[in-house]
């Protein structure tokens, strides 16, 4: 399994680890689809942002953080998906910034990104 060749060099960064464990993402479609798991790079958004972060996807590590996000950004989706990632799904890194559990996920090329996730409820 590999990452897309179009990604910047040294991306994911060397300190990223095999994907592992429970994570959450708020989505707007029910059931969630591929559009809910597109990176900013795939959407063509924020071209000036950090190029390696742009090709990754943001995840949260706690349900509380995901619920908080639905309350902070109601238009961005009310459905919370819980995923259980493993090394076959790519690499992750805790990129906490202002959110202590914010994690960036760099999925391997061609994997079904939706498959590891199940919806745990709508807010």
């Amino acid at each position: 399994m590999q990452f897309p060749e179009s990604w910047p060099p040294e991306c994911p960064p060397a300190n990223a680890q095999d994907a592992q464990g429970e994570c959450f993402r708020v989505v707007s479609n029910n059931p969630p689809g591929a559009d809910d798991f597109k990176s900013y790079s795939e959407l063509g958004a924020a071209p000036n942002a950090n190029p390696c972060k742009r090709v990754g996807l943001s995840l949260l590590r706690t349900l509380d953080d995901a619920i908080h996000q639905t309350e902070l950004f109601p238009k961005h989706g009310k459905l919370i998906c819980r995923g259980e990632l493993n090394s076959g799904h790519g690499k992750t890194l805790l990129t906490k910034g202002t959110l202590p559990t914010h994690t960036t996920w760099w999925p391997y090329e061609g994997i079904d990104r939706v498959a590891p996730f199940v919806c745990v409820g709508a807010q």
Partner: protein
Amino acid sequence: MNWTVIAPQFDVESFQGISLEEILYEFDGPRIFTARSVMGELLFYLADEQDGLCRYIVAPTNASIIDLMKSGVRSVRDALNQPWVWFLDTQYDGNPVAAWKGTLADAPVDALPRPGVMLWPHLEPVFVLRAIGDGLGEGTVPASVIRQVVDGATTALKKIAGRVFQAARAQGRKANVIRQFYDLPMQGVAYNSFEIAFRLPGRKQLNLGAGEAPEELGSEFDEIGKLLEQALSWAIDAKPEEDNEPLDIDLLEALEKLVPPQTGIVKSVELRGRIFCAGHARYQLTRDTSKRVRRALGKARVSQERITKVTGLVRELDKDDPSFTLRETDDSKDHVCRFPQEFLDDVLEVFNTDQRVTISGRENIKNGEIDVSLVSREPSATESSSSAA
């Protein structure tokens, strides 16, 4: 976008060349951030994203507003709620394509952060009490409602903390350590009808017992939250009363302080906060809940408490956990008496002068403890003789 901004259009060129200052919330990309422009310092909130467009609500701001938001004193919605705001559509590449100038009221409710929601999850208040009623808003909240909310929160938490720390108190745990579980610092006030948010004491404010870590206080606070949640679920559950397990009297007394009164401006009370395991649950107590709680409390009191009046001497006083032991009583028993803070001066005086005191209140039949509602001093010999003269 599936919502139209009904506000006058604004010159979109004003948003060209904006320089991003600080990212406050980032998920996939920056969602809340500050930026500098010819119009001054601005707060950007990404309200919606659709069909290759991002719609931001942009509010004028300053360092003080941002600091209040970052410290959890001001919610994101309140920080955005300025005399005017702009709605700005940009393409995904950040190029501005349309702008309008209006107020926050021009946005649909679901395009805004929910009222009271803080910038980051850890800033969410630990306990929020909201009094709901017609006409409760900024400038129109009677002092009695403010008192009701503050007393409700403090007394209810104190009742439950008392139960959680029953054993700890017997083992000599300091009362001022226990006090911080109910006498919480206020985080903020919102006019939503009227709500007060409380936070846990900061590290510097914490009173820790010897060898105690702040994390241990967290687990004890969780315990208080669990019991409160149990009491609220009991009160809200619509099961017929005969099918419902009776609730412990301490929990009923905590509920008694939280439920809305049968008359007056407050019609219901909402509770939320990180104290609850279901972190984002909202519990609503109505006047029907009040009836239910009062009926259950009446029943419990008949079997577990009696109204009492005892005279004796205050020999042992705890100022941190307002309570004293009444000895040399006219019923020949010692009584631990808990009293409201406002009686402290009276109690201190009789304690310091060895005057006999008569107290009235509710006595727990099982252990003889008295919840004091009235303290009256017996006149001293000098007072009696001067009044006779």
